[in-house]
């Protein structure tokens, strides 16, 4: 069997033309917007004192065992990052002597890491079997073990490195923060927010949290302000002297927006929060994929071209 150079180019050109005709910008899917009643946290790094009460409360109320980063000496529950037994962790940024809080040079700052419950989650987009779903009311990204096939695409897709796989188990699952949905059902708030003594993590509706965050950015450093504790609009409050903020609410637009919002006194990249575009990864990849497979036209044309080549070249053998 021989394919003439001329024939090959002809087929290739025909397929390419079909693909080009199918690729039309109108096919891009609409960017996802915030769900009106979505819930989340506002985490204020300048208020956090690194006491880790949220870490232990999270473990207690999600019934997770201790996690050791020192296998030879398993004494302390000291995970280095979120893992299959740790949904929530406090990390430290430290530079030089680390003497002053919320200072970039020779200072330190804390950051709380957990699932960001993205407006347009990459994990949900990447999951081939819809084991990960975004709740249409609360916006919580939750996981169903009965649907999961263990492909771990969600792990690769997540820009925050959150879904974690139980490598050590015979029947492993993906583990991540589900915003204590079991507690929300009972009318309680997520454990990390309830047990935060300072009000660094407050629970509430995301749109209210966004208003609160922007209000804090307007506070004058050094002035005394009342901060909500545990939940927005609850009765617990704490008065505190405002320290300077970086004029940005992380999660407002980053990566298409998240339901966990951050405020900090030092740049967010230093706290390990990735610099993301306003367009979500899921939006980009789905636009490309949906364009290629729109109405199955391009694949059919491409396959047809291939069949034609095969047919043409096998005709003589009959």
């Amino acid at each position: 069997m021989e394919i003439k150079r001329r024939d090959f180019l002809k087929v290739a050109a025909a397929g390419g033309a079909a693909l080009a005709a199918a690729a039309h910008p109108a096919l891009a899917r609409e960017p996802k917007t915030r769900i009106k009643d979505a819930v989340g946290f506002l985490y204020d790094s300048t208020v956090c004192t690194g006491c880790k009460a949220c870490v232990s409360a999270c473990k207690q109320y999600n019934e997770m065992p201790a996690s050791f980063s020192t296998p030879q000496d398993p004494l302390w529950d000291n995970p280095l990052d979120t893992d299959s037994k740790t949904y929530n962790i406090i990390k430290l940024f430290k530079d030089g002597t680390g003497a002053a809080k919320d200072r970039e040079k020779d200072g330190h700052a804390y950051v709380k890491r957990q699932c960001m419950h993205c407006v347009d989650p990459s994990c949900v987009s990447a999951c081939p079997v819809s084991a990960l779903t975004k709740d249409p009311v609360s916006g919580i990204v939750s996981y169903s073990k009965s649907a999961c096939i263990g492909c771990r695409y969600c792990q690769l897709a997540c820009p925050y490195n959150i879904p974690k796989f139980e490598y050590e188990k015979a029947f492993p699952q993906i583990r991540k923060c589900e915003l204590c949905s079991h507690r929300l059902k009972k009318g309680e708030i997520p454990a990390c927010a309830e047990f935060c003594p300072t009000g660094a993590t407050v629970f509430g509706k995301v749109e209210d949290l966004l208003v609160e965050a922007k209000k804090r950015l307007q506070y004058k450093a050094g002035s005394s302000q009342v901060y909500p504790v545990e939940r927005l609009g609850g009765k617990a409050t704490a008065e505190r002297i405002v320290t300077p903020y970086v004029q940005k609410v992380y999660g407002e637009k980053d990566g298409g927006g998240t339901q966990i919002l951050y405020l900090a006194g030092i740049p967010f990249e230093k706290l390990g929060l990735p610099k993301l575009e306003e367009r979500s990864d899921a939006h980009r990849s789905e636009t490309i994929q949906h364009t290629i497979y729109k109405g199955m036209i391009a694949p059919v044309v491409f396959l047809g071209g291939l069949l034609y080549v095969v047919h043409k070249n096998t005709k003589d053998h009959k």
Partner: protein, 374 residues
């Protein structure tokens, strides 16, 4: 030290010799001194000739500091305090009063110029020339300035004399001022030791005095002139409820389930995280474990800390003070080892090559030797 002397003192104090030595050792340990210091203290106390004269002035105060001192019960302390120091003037405890008492004070100052210890409890009002506190027709301000310049050292007993305390609470109508500030403003350089607290723990006062009697100098002080042995650490650091704080277990209301379980009182406004004192370690009133404010279920009020007690609202949340955080936290960017550099590899390879050459040369020689023998 002679046993005879000890026995005399023991009889005087109404305690056994054993109990007396034990007491001195406990005081020494409380200050973080070596155990042998207990014997030194005992010797200093037994030698009556070394008893330092003490003048105790009171200004805007409630006598709580004196009451607190009277309630120290390690071997009958009221005896000890009277025999350990020569208390020449004290408004509450003096037998004489009025003119006689004032005369006794003046006589003592004259006789012990530059040698006596001056204890001041209460803040000094300075507004309107200090007319809001008058003793024997003189203002407390006047008496303090007069007495302070002749003293060897001054002990500011209680929060009022340390930093204004209750009388200095907003709006401070009498202009209540701490002792240290008055002396600095008046240019008097007599050293001041602060024993803050409302009331201060009597053992912190007693330990400071015993240290002075034994070593003839003042104990190590922090930047706010507080003895480090007593005020070197935050209440939060040694609190028996600290594990509850770390585990995020808080009482949220007085009398709620968590409060009954003895959980951390931070959310009720405990000032332990910003207050320096040894309350959780040495407790109050000698009545057993748990007898201090937090132990009884009430949040720390911050009485020993400047700008906290009487200044911050009682049930507002404290700001947490942490010096540099420990390295046990996971970092936002974990340190990673770098791969081998070309130069590094070259050096390692050269070293390995040299070692190989040397070994093979030795091996060759061995082989030759073997051959030679054969």
């Amino acid at each position: 030290m002679k046993n005879k002397e000890l026995e005399v003192v023991s009889r005087q104090l109404g305690v056994s010799r054993r109990d007396f030595i034990k007491f001195c050792s406990v005081v020494a340990t409380g200050m973080g001194l070596p155990l042998g210091t207990g014997a030194q203290i005992a010797e200093a106390v037994t030698n009556a000739a070394k008893r330092p004269p003490v003048i105790w002035l009171s200004a805007q105060e409630c006598t709580g500091c004196t009451e607190s001192l009277l309630r120290a019960t390690h071997p009958t302390l009221e005896h000890l305090i009277l025999d350990l120091i020569s208390l020449d003037y004290h408004e509450t405890l003096s037998t004489p009063s009025g003119k006689q008492a004032e005369e006794a004070r003046e006589a003592s100052i004259k006789a012990n110029k530059g040698k006596f210890i001056l204890v001041v409890d209460g803040a000094i009002p300075v507004k309107d020339n200090g007319i809001y506190c008058m003793i024997g027709g003189r203002t407390a301000l006047d008496i303090l300035k007069d007495t302070a310049k002749d003293a060897f050292a001054i002990i500011a007993m209680g929060s009022c004399s340390s930093w204004g305390g209750l009388p200095a609470a907003d709006p401070n109508p009498t202009g209540a001022t701490p002792v240290q500030k008055i002396l600095t403003d008046a240019g008097i350089k007599t050293p001041v030791v602060s024993i803050p607290g409302c009331p201060p723990n009597p053992y912190n006062f007693l330990s400071t005095v015993l240290y002075f009697v034994t070593f003839k100098k003042l104990p190590e002080l922090d930047d706010k002139a507080r003895p480090k042995f007593a005020y070197g650490r935050l209440i939060h650091e040694n609190c028996e409820r600290r594990p509850h704080f770390d585990a995020g277990r808080f009482a949220t209301e007085f009398g709620d389930d968590n409060h009954r379980k003895g959980y951390c009182l931070y959310k009720l406004g405990c000032k332990g995280p910003e207050t320096h004192a040894n309350c959780p370690s040495i407790l109050f009133g000698d009545t057993g474990s748990g007898t201090w404010p937090v132990g009884t279920g009430h949040p720390c009020f911050g009485c020993t800390e400047q700008g906290v007690g009487f200044h911050k609202p009682l049930f507002s949340r404290a700001s947490l003070h942490l010096v540099t955080p420990p390295d046990t936290y996971p970092h936002t960017q974990e340190q990673q080892g770098k791969g081998a550099t070309i130069a590094g590899v070259a050096v390692a390879a050269a070293a390995a090559g040299a070692a190989f050459a040397a070994v093979s040369k030795v091996a060759n020689k061995l082989g030759e030797d073997e051959k030679g023998k054969k």
